[in-house]
């Protein structure tokens, strides 16, 4: 497991780096408060409503759900891909069956228009 120690170190350094830089920049940067400056940008007009009050398209959720399905599939494929030479034909056929079941769901989603972005 020793090869993971540098990765852990790198993670600590990489997380610390932006915050340390921001802290130093906070000390040296210019800053003059102005009530107009801190308004959200809306092409120069006074804002009409808060962004968080708006609803957005349900398609974003659909995409997220589809993503979860296919990403879990990818996770199954990784160990299979590493071991394919040992699993040989049996492993290949098994994965074809697995993918075929998923493709049925994919075709269903396509036919129902889940992939259609209007």
């Amino acid at each position: 497991m020793t090869e993971y120690i540098p990765v852990l170190l790198f993670i600590v350094v990489a997380i610390a780096f932006p915050f340390v830089t921001l802290a130093i920049a906070w000390l040296v940067r210019a800053g003059r408060y102005d009530p107009v400056k801190v308004e959200p940008y809306e092409c120069g007009n006074p804002i009409t409503s808060e962004a968080h009050d708006h609803r957005f398209s349900v398609r974003y959720y659909l995409i997220a759900v589809l993503f979860v399905v296919f990403d879990v599939e990818t996770v199954f494929l990784f160990p299979w891909a590493v071991m394919l030479r040992k699993l040989a034909l049996f492993g290949f056929v098994e994965m074809v069956v697995f993918l075929a079941i998923l493709v049925v769901g994919y075709v269903y989603a396509w036919r129902r228009g889940a992939l259609q972005w209007v």
Partner: protein, 350 residues
């Protein structure tokens, strides 16, 4: 190497600092080359005022951003707003911990024993890269949401949808190359290509194509730069960001471009290997150090990125989604099965 502190703390820390500096400098100078190359493509001159031929322009830009006022909008969610740039920067940097930049080297006789010029090689390398780099989507969507700005929110949502959509075909195309290498370790990828005597780009041309298209989409670059489509969304998820926080979004984008290019180099272009590593007649090419080969290949991909920006018009969002889900996904899935069958029939590419 008697003292464990030197092996486990000092040597990695030195490497980490060097990698960080190189990545940050690369991101800065990538912006210079981007401006310069785009300028020449459009028959302009580009930056040429700071330093000879404008070479110091990125340094001047970095200094300017460092001392620039950093505005936090009054309606923003302050904590998330501050954390989001770090959330996208850290993963983009962490990925460099497992990318093999070259073969073991003594740095031209500087060291007594050859050491690997990369940080470490873990046996789940490519999985680690895919996993860590997908954390970056949090920085995008949280930054866009926390700004409490309509442009930012739309940009963040679009970006999240785009990033997750293109991650699926990207994963499939990586698995296709993985089938040829038979290991998840990044160093093993290069070694497998050395044994096979051929870069995986030749058997894996479809996988490479899909990987690179998805890579461009993952980094929000032309022609898939919809999250920050300036003509409709101002600047997308980082509309409200300024000063150093904006600089981190910028750094992350360019660091991610280097990541995609480096991973493509390792997976299909033989990493640090010279062309046709088994052809003895080309042995004179070994004069060039492995690291230079690696850098040249990465540089080629980065040039392609800028070239695309100078050439392609932007996609529309429905076209982007259709391309990802209706074209790239089935093609990459079919390619995966074809490659798997090929590996089985030929008893492996090795």
């Amino acid at each position: 190497m008697g003292n464990p502190w030197i092996a486990f703390l000092v040597v990695p820390l030195v490497k980490i600092v060097v990698i960080l500096l190189v990545v940050i400098l690369m991101a800065a100078y990538l912006s210079y080359f981007e401006r310069k190359i785009l300028a020449y493509m459009q028959i302009r001159i580009g930056p040429n005022r700071v330093g000879p031929r404008g070479w110091l322009q990125p340094i001047a830009d970095a200094l300017k951003l460092f001392v620039k006022e950093d505005i936090i909008p009054s309606r923003a969610e302050k904590f998330v707003y501050i954390v989001a740039p770090a959330l996208i920067t850290a993963p983009a940097l962490v990925v460099f911990s497992v990318i093999p930049f070259g073969a073991d080297t003594t740095f031209f006789g500087l060291l007594k024993q050859p050491i690997p010029p990369y940080l470490t090689d873990i046996n789940i390398g490519i999985l680690f890269i895919l996993g860590v780099s997908s954390v970056g989507v949090y920085g995008v969507i949280l930054g866009g949401w926390a700004s409490n700005n309509k442009f930012s929110l739309m940009g963040g949502l679009r970006s999240a949808a785009q990033l997750v959509s293109y991650e699926v075909p990207m994963g499939f195309s990586v698995i296709a190359v993985l089938l040829m290498a038979g290991s998840l370790s990044m160093v093993k990828f290069v070694e497998a290509q050395k044994q096979a005597g051929v870069w995986f780009i030749f058997p894996g041309i479809v996988a490479f194509f899909i990987y690179f298209v998805c890579g461009i989409a993952e980094t929000n670059r032309n022609p898939f730069d919809l999250p920050e489509a300036e003509s409709e969304l101002v600047a997308g998820f980082h509309t409200e960001y300024s000063g150093m926080k904006w600089a981190f979004y910028f750094l992350a984008e360019y660091a991610n471009m280097v990541v995609i290019s480096s991973v493509a180099t390792v997976l299909v272009l033989g990493g640090w290997l010279r062309p046709f590593p088994n052809v003895a007649a080309l042995a004179f090419l070994d004069v060039i150090p492995p690291f230079i080969w690696f850098a040249a290949k990465v540089g080629f991909f980065l040039f392609c990125y800028i070239w695309f920006r100078g050439t392609f018009p932007r996609y529309r969002f429905d076209q982007l989604m259709a391309l990802g889900w209706k074209v790239l996904l089935p093609v990459s899935l079919a390619n995966l099965l074809v490659v798997a069958l090929g590996v089985l029939l030929m008893g492996g590419a090795r």
